[in-house]
């Protein structure tokens, strides 16, 4: 299965970013660099601001922040990022193929080449027979695969993934993690998760967030090699430490 390698995957830089949420400080002078072309997993307790970080990178206009955020040298908000969330957000009135091509349809950029690419991706993801099926006829795993393909079809250099596999059963999650790791190689991937095992399997680098306002509790460098097997020493040796880090009070 050929990975989609977007050109010039940018690094993401947070420079002294501050943000208040419901009158309380969520970030205060947060500085952070997420390397381009790497897969970075962000771990942390609920409500610590993981998803908000992704929204800031996506250029959400609803979050007025101080400081600066750059995708290499450009501010967020341009067409550099693609998004995949916990909910698949498939449109129930469109077929699987139409959903995968949603971005192109919304931008009036639907071409035969894109359609062919979508069909190829659907085939590679094992969904060939469901190309014309409506989302209601698909299982949770199939729907999330379709959402992943829709994200990849955007061909953006930055992929923002907000707990994309959390609602799936263990086996489906394992398979989809492998598929995602293969297909997103070369992009700057920021994956938010609650699951230390998922982070250890998929990340080149893990950032653990904690506290209020949120701070970086620890950064773990894992290097390449994702997706790692659950029995991989890089996973098993770090799992207890990561779990204790999340549980021992370094939380919000």
């Amino acid at each position: 299965m050929a990975p989609l390698t977007p050109l010039q995957a940018p690094a993401i830089v947070f420079d002294r970013v501050g943000l208040d949420f419901s009158g309380k400080p969520l970030f205060r002078d947060l500085s952070l660099r997420l390397e381009g072309g790497q897969s970075t997993c962000i771990l942390g307790p609920s409500g610590c601001g993981k998803s908000t970080l992704l929204k800031l990178i996506a250029g959400s206009t609803a979050l007025p922040y101080s400081g600066a955020i750059y995708l290499d040298t450009t501010p967020p908000g341009g067409q550099q990022v693609a998004w995949m969330g916990q909910n698949d957000l498939l449109l129930p009135w469109l077929t699987l193929l139409e959903n995968v091509l949603l971005g192109a349809r919304l931008r009036h950029e639907l071409t035969e080449t894109r359609r062919h690419r979508a069909v190829t991706l659907i085939h590679e993801a094992g969904l060939t027979w469901y190309e014309q099926a409506l989302p209601n006829a698909l299982s949770g795993g199939m729907r999330q695969r379709a959402a992943l393909l829709r994200t990849l079809m955007e061909g953006r250099p930055v992929l923002l993934m907000d707990e994309p596999f959390s609602a799936l059963d263990a086996l489906t999650r394992f398979r989809l993690q492998n598929l995602a790791a293969r297909l997103t190689k070369g992009a700057t991937v920021i994956l938010v998760t609650h699951d230390p095992l998922e982070a250890l399997r998929l990340a080149d680098r893990i950032i653990v967030l904690a506290g209020a306002p949120v701070q970086i509790a620890e950064i773990l460098e894992l290097g390449g090699g994702a997706p790692r097997d659950p029995g991989d020493p890089a996973v098993t040796s770090r799992y207890p430490h990561l779990l204790s880090l999340l549980m021992n009070g370094k939380t919000a």
């Binding site: 957000l89 449109l91 469109l94 949603l102 919304l106 409506l134 989302p135 955007e154």
Partner: protein, 251 residues
Amino acid sequence: MKAALRLCLITAGLLTLWQLLVLLTRAPTYILPGPMPVAKALITHLPLLSKHLGTTLTEILIGLLLGTLLGTSSAIAMIVSPLLKRWMLPVLVISQAIPVFALAPVLVLWFGYGMASKIAMAVLIIFFPVTSSFYYGMQRTDPDLLELARIMGAKPLAVLRIIIIPSALPAFAAGVRVATAVAPIGAIVGEWVGSSAGLGFYMLHANARMQIDVMFAALTLLAAVSLLLYFLVDHLLDRLIYWQPQQGTTL
């Protein structure tokens, strides 16, 4: 099949109740005719009743079509233009404070005794449920979907066509179902106020001549046709919202 059987049983039950009421109250036929004299009147006057039914049905259908078109256009206009929404929404709410039936004589005065005044009446009744249900349906589009579209760099009109309007179709369908149920009321009230054709006119005509069985025959025909129209629209709406499990009327 089960639904058809249930419908037959309900009809039979209602007819039995009607007959029992006639027998127990011993009401004279010029006050409350039983089902049999009404059926007889229906058969005897069928050619004339059919002609008047044609008029009423045309008024209902055109009113329904125009009211729905006007309602959907207004709802879309309010979603597209916040300025228009600020001016239109209060007018829409205030318009509901005026009883539409009170306008019937004025409409007859303005549009005459023909079909136009009855169609206008039906349109006025239909407009609000269609507009409000469609507008609020569009407003309730999942914000996550809109955010996804924004990140994708979507064109505003494509978002409206591909995401917002389909999202609101179930709410729109609810509004059209209400509109279909009330459209005949508009047409009939319009005919009562002033007309020379239609079932409403014929009912008044029969009532004035103490032909109560004929009046009931017209009423029965109107109820049957209204019910049929409702089920037809319900079926069409179910097909329009093809991705949802059928939520329409079940018997």
